[in-house]
């Protein structure tokens, strides 16, 4: 049974794309206010889990459950899940030419019942953009159109900061960033968690230990072949760095398979 006290409760989740099974029984529970890291080899299905939880129409859920504070997410379309408080920071955000960031951000906030007056909105936006060291010209640029890799990541974090979700799924928010940009992004995530008074949970998909040093996850999950094969404290991330997935999975995989 889903646990309504739990922010995110995923149990036995299976998902396919083009009738190919990618998720093969994912179990994961994220309490309010916790940061969980999700690590694993390329192609293990981490991004698919992110898409499946946020309602990408290309993915079919074939078994299992996913609830947010006890509410079943699976029958809901992506926009309704977002309105419930699920946010996805995309690994590769798509460009939408002709739609300015400012129009888009206002439309998104309006759709989530978080509309501000024009003045309040601009004040908030200016503040958040300054925190993320984003140039003012971002406002009138088209969504992700011609953005550099680093600009895209910051723009995703900006959206999270403005929308204040319950659950933020961050799909490699650190990839391709230099040290300074990484710190800015990590600070942005931490600010959002702290600003939520311990309510917002984070599922952080990453390959690198560095962002975890900034964000200090409560739990680290290891993902392999479509499911969570090991979970542990922050030290697990260090072990991966030292041993590699192969070394580590060689040890833990059999245990998890019988679990």
């Amino acid at each position: 049974m889903p646990d309504p006290a739990m922010l995110l409760d995923v149990a036995g989740l299976h998902a396919t794309i083009d009738s190919k099974e990618i998720l093969k029984g994912v179990d994961m529970r994220i309490p309010h206010g916790e940061i969980h890291a999700l690590m694993g080899p390329n192609g293990s299905g981490k991004s698919t889990l992110a898409y499946a939880l946020t309602g990408h129409p290309k993915y079919q859920i074939t078994a299992g459950s996913a609830t947010l504070k006890g509410t079943d997410l699976l029958p809901l379309t992506a926009d309704l899940r977002a309105q419930l408080g699920v946010f996805l920071s995309f690994q590769h955000p798509t460009a939408i030419p002709g739609v300015t960031m400012v129009n888009f951000l206002r439309a998104a906030m309006r759709s989530q019942g978080k509309e501000l007056s024009a003045r309040e909105f601009l004040t908030r936006l200016t503040y958040e953009m300054a925190e993320l060291k984003m140039d003012e010209s971002f406002r009138s640029r088209y969504i992700n159109d011609g953005f550099s890799g680093g600009e895209k990541k910051r723009a995703e974090i900006l959206q999270m900061a403005l929308l204040q979700p319950q659950l933020a799924i961050l799909d490699e928010p650190d990839s391709g960033l230099d040290v300074d940009a990484l710190r800015i992004v990590a600070d942005g995530v931490r600010r959002a968690v702290e600003g939520s008074a311990g309510k917002m949970g984070v599922l952080l998909i990453t390959h690198y230990n560095r962002i975890l040093e900034y964000l200090r996850p409560d739990t680290v999950h290891i993902f392999s072949a479509g499911r969570v094969v090991a979970s542990g404290g922050p030290s697990l991330a260090k072990e991966i760095e030292a041993m590699g997935y192969e070394g580590l999975l060689g040890e833990v995989a059999p245990v998890s398979a019988s679990a």
Binding site: D79, I96, V99, F104, L163
Partner: protein, 466 residues
């Protein structure tokens, strides 16, 4: 994915119609008698009646276009060619008959006036019912009137240019217009005068089985500048209406003319318009052409680049909903050396809607050092919708640089998901993408028109969601 609502079903907000208030109309169908009656009713000079009757002679001889859209439903015998709604033209808004005033209130004419436009003209069926121009423009010699008044009060200029760019035998619908034309705008800008604020005209068809045949003539003398804007609407009737306008623009040496139109006819109007401009030495002509409504539109704004360094721009946007065919494009004829043209076309098709881009670039042997750039992009909103591109190029000089790019795309699943993952509904997400696609066009519009365009598109996309 199952879509429960039709996010782009069209809600035509100008679908209301007023009671017939006409004070005079000719009998249905086309004849010498009808053409003579129009001319006599207007008290025109003899040469204009002759011009009309000559054009009437050309009309049956000119073939229906065998290409483009399907025009087989047009019944020329079932059309009122002239309907006069009021006794005389008015310069005070208060004097406009209530039913007509209400219509233009809904279209936003009084607001336009309040915004201190340089001039406003409103045509209802065949005649211009309301007209005003700022006194200081009049003092500087600018003429902005309806075409009938232009003929009456400024016959020298009028006669010098009328029908010279688009002769009455140019094509079937130009012949028809030349025979029965009424209303439209006459604009004359003297040498060196810059008209800073746009001149605006509104055209409205209100009668059933009505043809509207306005005639617009714009003359910009050396070094002058003018921006002329028109908007068009019609109510929805069960039978089809015909709009066959003719627009002629003359941009003399170094003049700059921008012509902007947003046409939002109801979906039973045949919109068959001939638009042509000549640009002399160092002149610039820009056609900004938006086509949202109508059953069929066939319209290819043309620019003849007659003098050295003349420049032409055609920027068009078309939206074809189910049952609509927007066959639009452009023609750029490079006659002189060092001339340049730039064509940008954006079109969106939905349901059984169809958009076609038909472009003709011609470079004559004497025209060297010519630069041409054509870009047309089509967006399809579903599996059924359709778009075609017909680019024609006749290049008779080797010293020409031509860029041509065309693309057809569908609303991307990734784009939709990105917006929806932020809480934005499918309808609103589609509307945002559609607006974004039209942005290169919208940003060229005066602000109130850009807002209106966005609003019209959003309205079309609201569907059944409350």
């Amino acid at each position: 994915m199952v879509t429960k609502t039709d996010p782009l079903s069209r809600d035509y907000k100008y679908g209301f119609h007023d009671q017939d208030v006409s004070v005079f109309r000719t009998e249905k169908g086309l004849s010498r008698k009808v053409v003579t009656a129009i001319s006599q009713h207007k008290g025109e000079p003899e040469w204009m009646l002759e011009f009309r009757l000559k054009a009437l002679g050309h009309f049956p001889k000119r073939p229906m276009p065998a290409w483009g859209a399907d025009l087989s439903d047009i019944n020329f015998d079932d059309i009122y060619y002239y309907v006069k709604p009021v006794d005389e033209q008015l310069n005070s808004w208060d004097d406009v008959p209530l039913s007509i005033k209400n219509t233009f209130d809904r279209l936003g004419i009084p607001e336009a006036e309040r915004k201190f436009l340089a001039g406003v003209s409103a045509q209802y069926d065949s005649e211009v019912v309301y007209h005003s121009i700022h006194a200081d423009l009049e003092k500087r010699g600018v003429i902005f009137s309806d075409c009938d008044t232009g003929l009456r009060l400024h016959s020298d200029i009028f006669r010098k240019y009328f029908g010279t760019i688009i002769p009455p035998n140019d094509n079937k619908f130009a012949s028809l217009n030349s025979a029965v034309w009424s209303g439209g705008s006459f604009v004359y800008v003297p040498k060196g005068v810059h008209v800073e604020i746009p001149l605006q005209a509104y055209f409205r068809i209100n009668s059933d089985n009505m043809g509207q045949f306005e005639r617009t003539l714009i003359i910009a003398e050396e070094g002058s500048y003018v921006h002329y804007i028109e908007g068009c609407t019609a109510p929805t009737y069960s039978s089809n209406a015909l709009h066959a306008a003719v627009v002629e623009i003359i941009a003399h040496k170094g003049a700059h003319v921008r012509y902007t139109t947003i046409q939002n006819w109801s979906d039973n109007v045949y919109n068959l318009v001939t638009k042509r401009a000549v640009a002399y030495e160092d002149a610039t002509v820009e056609w900004i052409d938006g086509n949202l409504g109508s059953k069929v539109t066939m319209k290819y704004p043309a620019i003849y680049l007659m003098g050295e360094r003349a420049h032409g721009e055609v920027l068009s946007a078309a939206f074809a909903n189910s049952g609509q065919h927007q066959d639009a494009g452009s023609k750029c004829i490079h006659v002189a050396p060092h001339t340049t043209s730039n064509v940008v076309s954006r079109s969106i098709s939905k349901g059984s809607g169809r958009t076609s881009y038909r472009g003709h670039i011609k470079v004559l042997p004497a025209a060297y050092d010519v630069k041409v750039n054509v870009r047309c992009d089509a967006l399809l909103l579903d599996e059924e919708s359709q778009s075609d591109t017909y680019p024609y190029m006749d290049i008779d000089n080797p010293d020409v640089t031509i860029g041509h790019e065309a693309s057809v795309s569908k609303v991307g699943e990734d784009q939709l998901f990105y917006l929806r993952s932020r809480g934005i509904s499918e309808q609103d997400a589609t509307a945002l993408i559609v607006n974004g696609f039209f942005e290169p066009f919208a940003k060229e519009l005066p602000m109130e028109y850009a807002v209106e365009l966005n609003r019209l598109l959003a309205l079309s996309m609201e569907g059944a969601v409350g």
